[in-house]
Symmetry: C2
Subunit: 348 residues, 2 copies
């Protein structure tokens, strides 16, 4: 009701008007940004460092559901999932380009909300928006972000350099984003059946936030730097712990021993998973979207990180012939399998 009063139709602005409206308040924060929005390309200065580039696309109906995703949160998340990829190289993100495709039926105010979320994420992480593309879409909302960061070559951490005996570590806790999604999906179904019933998400803020408002673990990169630990391999947890551990093992040509009891799961995640008759460990292994950092460190670095409550040591790297194993709480050995979130399998 009243939803369209005082709202601006984006057709009136046109593409250039819209871009200039959305970008007029950008203040560049990084000395590496020589020229941002407004020309055929942005101009950046690596100042002798190596350049890190990554890109992620979010599509309506696949990666998000606007029924329960506020546009501001969506903008925030679209930036964060990209920043997370640069953190996963042991570097800090500095610039992003943002391409948006959306129905021309959106109001300017709706797009502003989306951009507000993106600007908020960029401001908090000291990242410049330096370019992008804005277009109409006949097909729902499309968001494509490319992120850039810089690092000295000897500080970059790849996926394929884990060594036998290295400790496997993960930041934060896992499975929260997935159980949060189960809650949101349930409340959506209830609402669709009876729009008069209010959503019952009380006390579930943490896991709802894990789904709707993930944070790239820039703080972990800064922490590791401050205690002088360079991980031997690193990846971010976007598809689920199992999938990411297997990426490191496969690319490093190694095996692993992972301990179920060591996998960090928040009590709210645990209880909510049980409510849905889900195994909390499976939520952590295969749920995805937690955007924590999974990394391996030399055993010699154990003392430097053992007291950090935000880092859990969940296993170790083995020779390849030992296999990739999960040791259950009861002591049974299971082969670790990736049954993670897969954008292609979703539609089957």
């Amino acid at each position: 009701m009243f939803d369209n009063i005082d709202k601006t139709n984006i057709n009136e602005l046109g593409e250039f008007g819209l871009i200039s409206h959305l970008t007029k308040n950008i203040k560049l924060r990084n000395t590496s940004t020589l020229k941002g929005v407004g020309d055929d390309a942005a101009v950046l200065d690596a100042a002798g460092k190596k350049i890190l580039v990554s890109t992620d696309m979010l599509l309506e109906g696949i990666h998000f559901d606007l029924a329960y995703t506020p546009l501001k949160h969506l903008g925030y998340k679209a930036i964060q999932v990209n920043l997370s990829d640069i953190c996963a190289m042991n570097a800090l993100p500095t610039q992003v380009t943002v391409s948006i495709g959306m129905s021309s039926k959106y109001t300017l105010e709706a797009i502003e909300e989306l951009y507000e979320g993106m600007y908020l994420a960029c401001n908090q992480y000291n990242v410049d928006i330096v370019g992008g593309d804005t277009t109409s879409s006949k097909q729902g909302l499309v968001i494509s972000v490319t992120v850039i960061g810089y690092a000295d070559e000897d500080t970059i951490v790849y996926r394929n350099t884990a060594e036998e005996g290295d400790l496997i570590c993960v930041s934060g806790d896992l499975g929260g984003a997935y159980t949060g999604l189960q809650l949101l999906e349930r409340e959506k179904l209830i609402y669709l059946e009876n729009p008069n019933i209010q959503p019952d998400l009380e006390g579930k803020d943490y896991i709802i936030e894990r789904q709707l408002k993930p944070e790239a673990r820039k703080d972990i990169i800064e922490l590791l730097k401050s205690v002088k630990v360079k991980p031997t391999a690193m990846i971010d947890v976007s598809d689920g712990l199992a999938s990411e551990v297997l990426h490191i093992c496969t690319q490093s040509n190694k095996g692993c021993q992972l301990y179920e009891e060591k996998i960090p799961i928040d009590p709210m995640t645990y209880d909510t998973a049980r409510e849905f008759n889900l195994d909390p460990t499976v939520c952590a292994l295969s749920g995805g979207e937690d955007y924590e950092l999974l990394f391996t460190v030399k055993q010699a670095d154990y003392d430097k990180i053992k007291h950090d409550v935000d880092i859990s040591i969940i296993g170790y790297i083995t020779e390849p012939s030992a296999g990739r194993n999960l040791i259950s709480k009861s002591g049974q050995v299971h082969e670790l399998k990736a049954q993670g979130w897969n954008a292609f399998k979703q539609q089957q």
Copy 2:
């Protein structure tokens, strides 16, 4: 008929299988590419130069119609329109990231065709594909490309640096992509009315190619370098000549005098426009998608480019108070207006 025999459903491969299948034959060509596909981010080396970054998104139903766009051509074009943005900074593109969203109903062979076109463009322009994202889409085909190039700071050409008295130049010819589109749209309608009628595009290869297979004018950048001309301002012609000239004038805070009779239009473009009762000059001014380079040069550089058949001098830059004018063939002065292709206005 038989269309699905021996075809591979992409669901069987999953996201990681698909990515590895599509990228397994990539050979890196540039020393600036330290690490391509396969980690959280690509690692690049600017080797002391500045970095140029640009991005463009192509959406089905807005930017292309699969009824008459072969997937291989579409892949080729998606890369070219991005490469063109780096050329427009007076630099050469070196790397791209490619994000694709497509229905899981596509066969692997169809996606391979799309990628073949992208690889072809990259190989011809010596560009590395260093990363990307591949996901399912519920919403038609989505292609988002980010392109990176490098340049010494003093060779980069911006839009906002045109000076009074500079000559306005454009490469190639204009309006062809737009008239080619008119032909394709006409034949589509005829086909929809009667599928037994074969499309009548004979003798129209040039303008069909202008629409379906544009080429970034890397050769012009190399040519200008070889004759030691650094343009004073430059932009690529994606939205139509008028819009691009106005971008340079606005950003440089200048006026211009443009001569209709000097605007390069190929005879096939001219005749086809007439067939459609379109003014060929309007097709050049507002048609867009020609991906030629529009640039300004000092008068002192005139002798260095005057004999190049691929460069037309179409006017000159004036003080801002003189306005932005188009002098018609009959000598009348018109205010130059951008009525170019606008992705948002299309849906009105």
